[in-house]
């Protein structure tokens, strides 16, 4: 039952990667840091239907090798899913505060 309740609290968003070299080392570190600030499960993908990657794992994120111009899809499950998704998508839109 609890799992079902959590599933109900799903939130989604997406944002385009506009920084020069995509989801490389520093942006990935920032993304995991923001994601770890939330209790919700947060996942990212480069297509709307996945495959989904744990946004709290730097190693997994580096495996995506998402390049500039790709759209990152974000989804979260859990009590703070909505704010988690907003925080992650905003970070991407802000170019990871890199410029």
């Amino acid at each position: 039952m609890r799992q079902e309740a959590a599933l109900l609290r799903e939130a989604r968003d997406s944002a385009e990667l506009t920084n020069a070299i995509g989801l490389h080392a520093r942006p990935s570190v920032k993304l995991t840091q923001v994601a770890k600030g939330f209790g919700a499960t947060i996942e990212i993908a480069t297509a709307p239907d996945g495959p989904w990657t744990d946004a709290k794992s730097l190693v997994r994120i580096m495996r995506i090798k998402a390049a500039q111009g790709e759209t990152l899809f974000v989804r979260a499950h859990g009590a703070d899913a909505a704010s988690a998704v907003t925080a992650v998508a905003d970070l991407i839109r802000r170019n990871f505060d890199e410029d």
């Binding site: 020069a20 070299i21 995509g22």
Partner: protein
């Protein structure tokens, strides 16, 4: 016999010296104990590496700290050891399990199309080797460099680079590698010329070689005159005590001797008592990865002021562009980047980032004696525009109730037209940048080996220009410093001091030598007109 080996330019500059090959000693493989003991050994090895990285990162700032931060964050992710754990559970010793586990991550990045992702494979390999060295205790790489050597290797990892004691005059040649690698960025930050991608030939290099980090060329067995052009005056290994303290000429004139700083690591082993302050902070290296981060910039500037303990710290706003490109900030593909959108021109074109840097500098100015220096100034209107930005930043800080101060404002004299009209600019002090001023005044690009010798800092025309600027500044009572390689040449230094130069700023390794040379120079009355051209006429005889 001279042999030219083409490669890819990764860090600019020229370096000549004897080749030293990177020797990677490999420790003995583990025989393996129980799975739980092997697991504990891996955990301990990772913790030890993490602690070492944390310690290194604490001494570094900007790009250098960010690279280590990436590796620390990787160590903190349990996903990194998931495969190794599974192998250990299956009875494989920790070292082999770790190598095999990391192999798939490294392969995944090596297979990327994007060179930036491929370059990250080196960071992972670096981490793999650091942990492996802990698991196989005698497996450290030899990192003792001969002074001024040219390091040759297949590839070089960031943490190995940061553990090495780089001397002025060193250079790097890599068989593989990439200009987009973190280690290339570090080499650029430390001013160590580097050529990558020369192929297997790196292993055959021996004896004297010249690394041309601008052209991406390695010359094996270069002709002596070519090698001499890359030669850097020898720097005494240890600073004699007599040379520290205030610098006085033989006839008792006080000359300020300050230091140039590009990274916080440059301050290692330098005491503020041995100089008169920081004459030049190259922020394009120091805050390279904090361009939009005001708090981080403030923290870095505050650390410089803390080190200086009341001595002045001269912070130059970003001098990017030209031969110091910054990804995502400077303009790429300019036809003539030295004459392009760079220095203050670029700051004025990017008011969003200029505002952030000015806010951080003004806030830092409340903490100690700080001077603000503008690079590549061409017209008085640019200084007024910068002053306008400073006033706006101050008004914003005042409205927010933050502590700040407006520091004295100075300009670099590197554009000949500006040097000849120095008095027209609304500034409080000047700093002569001899490297750029010489290449512009002599119309000889400093990154072209065939002609860079023409940009001689002792050229009488250049000296006349500096003499003119010094005269205008003296009339207005404004101090003039010089930050550039010219100050490290005894004859040039003597001429400049006789012309009335009041201070110099040099890289920390030159501090003791310059102070001791000043003590041997007799300035006499300030020479207000004539310039001794003898040295110049003799010195440039071999030019084409």
């Amino acid at each position: 016999m001279e042999r030219r080996v083409p490669g890819v330019p990764a860090a600019p500059g020229l370096a000549g010296g004897l080749v030293q090959h990177l020797v990677q000693a490999s420790g003995q493989p583990r025989s393996g104990a129980t799975a739980s003991l092997e697991r504990a050994a891996l955990d301990a090895a990772m913790l030890a590496v993490r602690a070492e990285l944390e310690m290194l990162a604490g001494r570094l700032a900007g790009a250098e700290a960010a690279i280590l931060g990436f590796q620390i964050a990787l160590l903190d992710d349990p996903e990194l050891v998931r495969e190794a754990e599974a192998r250990i559970a299956a009875g494989i010793p920790a070292d082999r399990a770790w190598i095999e586990g990391m192999a798939s991550e490294i392969r995944c990045l090596e297979a990327a199309d994007d060179p930036h992702f491929r370059a990250r494979a080196t960071d992972l390999a670096d981490l793999r080797d650091a942990v492996l060295a802990q698991l196989r205790p005698d497996g450290r790489a030899a990192t003792i460099l001969h002074p001024g050597c040219i390091l040759a290797a297949e590839d070089l990892t960031p943490s190995l680079f940061l553990r090495m004691d780089w001397q002025r005059g060193s250079g790097i040649v890599l068989g593989g590698g990439s200009a987009a690698s973190h280690v290339a960025m570090l080499a650029r930050g430390r001013g160590i010329p580097m050529v990558v991608g020369v192929g297997k030939v790196w292993a055959d290099l021996s004896g004297p070689v010249l690394v041309d980090g601008d052209a991406g060329l390695v010359i094996a067995g270069p002709a002596p005159d070519i090698l001499a052009r890359a030669a850097v005056p020898p720097v005494p290994a240890s600073a004699p005590d007599v040379a520290s303290g205030p610098a006085l000429t033989r006839d008792g004139r006080r000359i300020a001797v300050e230091i140039n700083v590009a990274t916080l690591a440059d301050l290692d082993g330098v005491s503020p008592e041995s100089c008169d302050g920081i004459g030049l902070v190259r922020t394009e290296f120091l805050i390279e990865h904090a361009l939009a981060d005001e708090e981080r910039q403030l923290e870095i500037y505050a650390r410089l002021l803390g080190w200086a303990r009341g001595l002045p710290v001269t912070i130059r706003t970003l001098d990017a562009g030209g031969d110091k490109p910054m990804r995502g900030y400077s303009v790429e593909g300019e036809r003539n980047p030295f004459l392009g959108l760079r220095g203050l021109r670029l700051s004025l074109a990017r008011p969003d980032l200029f505002r952030i840097q000015l806010r951080a500098i003004l806030r830092a100015a409340a903490l100690g004696p700080l001077r603000l220096l503008l690079p590549m100034v061409t017209t008085p209107a640019e200084v007024l525009a910068a002053r306008d930005h400073i006033a706006k930043a101050a008004a914003g800080l005042a409205a927010e109730g933050r502590a700040f101060a407006i520091p004295p404002l100075g300009m670099m004299l590197e554009v000949p037209a500006a040097a000849m009209a120095a008095g027209r600019f609304a500034v409080d002090f000047y700093s002569i940048g001899t490297n750029d001023l010489a290449q512009f005044a002599c119309a000889a690009a400093r990154d072209d080996l065939r002609i860079s010798g023409l940009a001689d800092p002792r050229h009488p025309g250049l000296m006349a220009m500096i003499a003119h600027a010094l005269k205008e500044a003296r009339t207005l009572g404004r101090p003039v410093m010089l930050c550039g390689d010219a100050a490290t040449d005894r004859a040039t230094l003597e001429t400049l001091l006789r012309l009335g130069l009041e201070g110099v700023s040099v890289a920390p390794p030159y501090l003791a030598r310059v102070i001791s040379e000043i003590s041997m120079i007799d300035c006499g009355a300030i020479d207000r007109g004539t310039i001794d051209c003898g040295a110049i006429d003799r010195g440039t005889g071999d030019q084409p």
